[in-house]
Amino acid sequence: MKLFKKGLLLVAIPGLFELALLAVLYKSQENATQAESWALHTKDVIIQAAEVRDPVLLQSARLRSAIILNDTTGLDRNDLWDSIDKEVGELHDIVVDNPEQVQRVAQIRKAVAEYKAWTEEQVELLKAGQRDKLVESFRNPSAIWLIQVIQRQLVEFIRVEEKLDNIRLERVAEARRLQNIALVIALIGSVLAAALAAKIFSKDVGGRLAVLTGNARRLSSGGELAGAVGGNDEITELDRVLHETSKRLKEADERARAYREELERHARELVLVNDDLQRQTQDNEMFIYSVSHDLRSPLVNLQGFSKELHHSIREMHDTISGSNLNDKDKQRIHDVIEEDVEVSLRFIRTAVSRSASIIDSMLRLSRVGRVEYQSQLTDVNEVVRRVIDAMSSTIRERQAVVMSQPLPPCYGDPTAVEQIFGNLIGNAINYLDPLRAGTVEVGVLPSDPGQPDFRTYFVKDNGLGIPADHLGKMFSAFNRLHADVAKGEGVGLALIKRIVMRHGGKIWVESTEGVGTTFYTSLPVQPAGHSENQAVQGEKTHD
């Protein structure tokens, strides 16, 4: 049932009650009115009865006066009898509904007729002048009796009517009383009915609205909803919607949690994989370290004993020179020593030196992964200045120009940062194109809002450049592009890539062969895991 209907009922129930009581009231009112009209009717009847008596008495008086005056002139007139007839007829008419009274009226009529007959008889006597007879008949008590009969009958009639009147008045009073009672009952009843209806309505609607409000509140705070509200109206509908919403929310929550768990699982897996990779990298570095370390030991022997051989050969040479062999043999032995043995030894020593320097590079490379960094806010301007100072002679030699923009500080190990810039600037200078004036520019890219913790520095040159197919191998160890231009084992970039990665940064290169090369490296500007506001502070420090 809709709320509108309920509201309507709220108004209609006491209304109906009042209507019913109104009907009762109306009925009792009608009864009272009817009783009143009956009472009035009775009064009319009594008056009418009196109306009958008057002409009878008048006729009697006329007769007597005629007798006394002996004048019959007035007796011929029939007006009084007509009047009596008329009045009796009217009396009959108004009591026609009461058979008892009708019968009485008939008796009255009969008595009047008898009296008329008697009166006419007396008039005849008077006209005939028989006064004696007249007096005698007057003395006859039956003559008086006739009038008395009429009068008595009228009195009786009136008495009956009065009795009726009393009864009817009582009825009127009773009806009035009932009417009052009905009025009071109607009043109280309608008030009670209205109160009852309002109470039922408020208990039904109010109670359910409270449940609904509670549900809405719980929904907003994410709690468990109470059971469904009964009924079949807008509140029930709204409650149903709330329950559905709650269900949807729970499902969404469930899904979100599933996603979150999935993400967390992936994150954990990634951490594990990352740990594993780190361990593998460490293992590899450890392996490289121990292999290169172990290789050093035999190299010491190779180098040492080749030198020993050299000493022995020199001794042999001196011994032969001092011996008494003929000159031809001496020359022959000297040639073998100088051209074969010494040359062979020189090749061995060169190979050993080369191996040793490769092993040294490997050791350095493996040590990058194990050395402990003392990270701090490092003034990159200062670092770059030191690097340029250290290379000033080479720069002058190559007639190159090295420019540096003002650079923001980075957060890293000062030695490691110097290694990075030393290597990049050194490479830029070493691989300049001798055919044109060399320029090297050190700068920084605008800060990237997506990576507030990092700044990207660059070292740009107009040197030889790197062929496109070689760009991918730039950061691999022992991979040298311009081996003829500068000395080295080709571990510099591999080394600084490892350093940059250990600082959490990245390094990459863009180059066009014959035009120039730009190396980019992103480095942290603040300790890892710092929050946003510290990021802002970090920005401020190098503003």
Binding site: H293, R296, S297, P298, L299, V300, N301, Q303, G304, F305, S306, K307, E308, V352, S353, A356, L363, R367
Partner: protein
């Protein structure tokens, strides 16, 4: 600086080649008197300590130990530790010889009380120079009170 006070040199080295090279160069530098070579750390411990763990002699006044770091069984660092732990042997000058120049390992050896740390250079000239410096060093530290604190 008299001949009878010449330092006895104990070389603990598992690599025969290295041992021979060290000996040859010490000889060439005139420092080979009283030279003894042991093949690993265990032999060195057996030389200094008896079965009961007590020192075999009341003192090792005129001895210098050249100790290789990487050896099988008992490594040079362990020998160094044991020698510096015992009161009798604590004052023996010890020179660590190794192929590594890892600063952490060097620091570790100095922490344990080694007197000198020499990286075995592959460059032979440099190695000879190192051994010469070693010899010079050995001649300086002949004083009996020489020990950790003297370096």
């Amino acid at each position: 600086m008299t001949d009878n006070q010449e330092v006895g040199i104990l070389l603990v080295e598992d690599d025969d080649g290295h041992a021979l090279l060290v000996e040859k160069n010490l000889r060439r530098a005139g420092l080979a008197n009283g030279f003894l070579r042991l093949k690993d750390g265990q032999e060195a411990l057996d030389y200094f300590f008896g079965d009961d763990g007590a020192p075999t002699k009341p003192g090792f006044d005129s001895i210098v130990v050249l100790l290789d770091v990487n050896m099988p069984r008992v490594g040079g660092v362990d020998v160094l530790k044991r020698l510096k732990e015992s009161e009798v042997t604590a004052n023996i000058p010890i020179i660590m010889l190794t192929t590594t120049d890892d600063p952490r390992e060097i620091e570790r050896c100095y922490d344990y009380g080694c007197n000198l740390y020499i990286t075995k250079p592959v460059e032979y000239e440099a190695f000879i120079e190192a051994v010469r410096r070693l010899g010079f060093f050995l001649q300086i530290i002949k004083v009996p009170t020489a020990g950790r604190n003297s370096t």
